[in-house]
């Protein structure tokens, strides 16, 4: 990996998060909305807060955001705040910090995304590899088309159907949420089991749909490896067929899947957010829905910024470790 590539790649990362932050800053100003004032007067008109309080709050916000200062200063202060993950107060949950509201939800989403992604990648790559392997059972070839058909449907639509059949009708799983209401999240086994039970259907709706996505890429690469000269020589060596499959086929075909996973991450996360909405799962997605419904702009901008940042970071990490996994690549120019 050359230093130039490393710098370039990190530069792109900062460019993306700078773009995301700037977007959040510029858009309300172009649209000429003062979200805080609007929301406050909305609350005041409903009698949720007394008007005296409202003014104090607006003052507070304006001061925090430096809205009384020149635009460039506002912008710099804004960027500085975002760089420190300081998104101010949540409007709906005032006086809670946006940061701590998000911190409650983030672990749920992280765990759900990570575990589902790992499972779908492994299952998808296994299926794709076996479908392309001449010696494998016909079963995989039969399994492939329905799984591919499923992959075209958005996660959360599959999720709705899963809820109906497995939670409502068969009552195998709880109807939604992240844990049984009434229990308090703790570090004990009982809670983990409960949380796992709640996570199975959301995870399943992500996995079922994504297997096809990962399988088709793997199948293509696996077909390619079979035409490679090294496969022919390996066969001429009299290597056993499982070795040809695993060490000459899969080992070579799986590496490019990491890149396509990185590219799909944004898509996966968007999907997961909607899955959470369907299941009322207590992660970022449900929080986003709340923020939208409450016109909680600060929370909304915070969530969007953090999601974009997480994905950019994950992509950066994958891009940086990829060359370490693939000895062919000394530095990885993205084609």
């Amino acid at each position: 990996m050359t230093a130039e590539y490393l710098l370039r790649r990190i530069g792109v990362f900062f460019l993306v998060i700078w773009g995301a932050a700037t977007f959040n800053f510029v858009l309300p100003r172009i649209a000429d909305v003062n979200p805080i004032e609007e929301r406050m007067s909305q609350l005041a008109s409903r009698g949720a807060v007394s008007s005296g309080n409202t003014e104090a709050m607006i003052k507070n916000f304006e001061k925090r955001f430096g809205l009384d200062q020149p635009l460039y200063e506002q912008y710099l202060r804004y960027l500085w705040n975002f760089a420190r993950f300081d998104f101010g107060f949540s409007i709906a949950y005032f006086p809670t910090q946006v940061r701590s509201v998000i911190a409650q939800a983030l672990p749920w989403t992280l765990v759900l995304v990570t575990i589902s992604s790992l499972i779908y990648m492994v299952l998808g790559m296994a299926l794709g590899a076996l479908v392309a392997w001449p010696g494998a059972s016909r079963l995989f070839k039969v399994l492939f088309p329905p799984i591919m058909a499923l992959s075209s449907i958005p996660y959360y639509l599959v999720g709705i159907a899963l809820v109906h059949f497995f939670a409502f009708q068969l009552e195998w799983f709880p109807l939604g949420g992240g844990y049984t209401v009434g229990t308090s999240p703790g570090w004990d086994t009982e809670f983990y089991l409960d949380a796992t039970k709640h996570a199975i259907l959301p995870a399943l709706s992500i996995i079922l749909v994504s297997i096809g996505f990962s399988a088709i890429g793997m199948r293509g690469m696996m077909v390619t490896t079979q035409g490679e000269d090294y496969m022919l020589l390996a066969e001429a060596k009299g290597a056993r067929s499982w070795r040809l499959f695993a060490w000459y086929g899969v080992r070579n075909a799986m590496l490019p899947q990491i890149t396509s996973f990185a590219l799909a991450l944004g898509h996966v996360v968007s999907g997961v957010i909607l899955v959470e909405v369907v299941f009322g799962y207590p992660g970022i997605g449900s929080m986003l829905l709340q923020a939208i419904r409450n016109f909680d702009y600060t929370l909304l901008y915070g969530i969007v910024y953090l999601v974009i940042l997480s994905i950019a970071l994950a992509t950066l990490i994958l891009d940086l470790i990829y060359p370490r996994l693939d000895p062919r690549i000394t530095y990885a120019p993205r084609s």
Binding site: Y230, L232, A236, K237, R243, R251, N252, R328
Partner: protein, 333 residues
């Protein structure tokens, strides 16, 4: 390079009536048809022909590496009293490396890019139930690498760290790792520069002599081959059209195709020919989908006769000097 003369006079590889066909939507395509030849132990045979003539198909068929829609349709290939073509898959897998080994075409991509060289050598041994300790493996690999002229450190390198010539040496190390009776070298040097080509061929020849193995060298470069082989076979449109010793074929080629092939060479033994006085073979290689009737060479043959389009020639003895027969499939004889 002198042709080797040691070794017992029994065929190391005896191929009879080998046929390979591809079954495509437009019918059966005979990529190799009735190919018959044998190589004595310790000898080197060359197989030449234009691309599409069936030489690589023959090599792959002997290794049983023909993939669908291709299939071996007939023939026997006997090594050590065993017919490779009638072995079951597991027996054939065991015969690879131990009886017959391949030095592949296109060494540039013949090694697994994500595995270290030593592991690629071990893979072959391990799957033949070689029961070695880690130390024995290391010693064996060092020995093999040294034999092919590489430093033992190469074992710990990845293919992309090696030059083309070094990669080809590694494939040779793999091929000799179990001391096979027959080594098939399929244009082993086609992607390399001339100096490296020669060095590699010398290494291959030395090791083959040491093992007493036979070599079948596939290629289209008669010039390179002439420096290396004892006997020569010429293929055209999936058939073997002429075989004989190198001397016989170079001095007195009988088949018109062989004659034209030899004539098309830049000065080899005939010093009198001026530079640039090269002759090509008129016409193009026939499509295997629509072979000319009778002798497939007749449309390009300067000596074609009236019967050529209607009768298929078979290999016949055309010259029999005391020890070796020269055979040609041509209606002239």
């Amino acid at each position: 390079m002198a042709a080797s003369t040691n070794g017992p006079q029994s065929p190391a590889l005896d191929v009879k009536n080998l046929g390979v066909s591809y079954f495509t939507s437009s019918g059966e395509v005979k990529a190799a048809d009735g190919v018959t030849f044998s190589i004595m132990s310790g000898k080197r045979m060359g197989l030449v022909g234009e691309s599409g003539s069936g030489k690589t198909t023959t090599a792959l068929a002997l290794m049983r590496l023909i993939k669908p829609p291709g299939r071996i349709t007939s023939g026997t290939a006997v090594i050590d009293n065993t017919d490779l073509l009638s072995l079951n898959d597991e027996e054939m897998r065991n015969a690879k490396l131990s009886k017959i080994a391949l030095v592949p075409q296109g060494a540039m991509n013949s090694l697994n890019p994500v595995a270290k060289v030593k592991n690629q050598i071990i893979d072959g041994l391990r799957d033949h139930d070689a029961d070695y300790s880690a130390n024995q493996y290391r010693e064996l690999i060092n020995e093999l690498l040294t034999k092919v002229g590489l430093s033992p450190q190469v074992g710990d390198m990845y293919p992309h760290e090696l030059s083309g010539g070094m990669k080809q040496r590694v494939t040779i190390a793999i091929a000799i790792s179990m001391g096979p009776n027959v080594i098939i070298a399929d244009e082993p040097t086609s992607a390399l520069d001339v100096v490296v080509q020669r060095q590699i061929m010398e290494t291959l020849a030395e090791l083959q002599e040491e093992l007493g193995a036979a070599i079948l060298l596939i290629g289209h470069d008669i010039g390179l081959m002439a420096q290396f082989v004892d006997t020569l076979g010429v293929m055209y449109a999936g058939r073997l059209v002429e075989t004989g010793t190198l001397r016989q074929l170079l001095r007195e080629p009988k088949h018109p195709y062989t004659q034209m092939l030899i004539d098309s060479l830049p000065s080899l033994e005939r010093q009198d020919r001026k530079r640039g006085d090269l002759r090509g073979i008129p016409g193009t290689a026939p499509s295997l989908y629509a072979l000319p009737s009778g002798c497939p060479f007749h449309p390009r043959c300067p000596q074609a006769m009236d019967i050529c389009p209607s009768e298929e020639p078979v290999l016949k003895v055309v010259n029999d000097d005391n020890q070796s027969e020269q055979l040609a499939a041509c209606l002239l004889y």
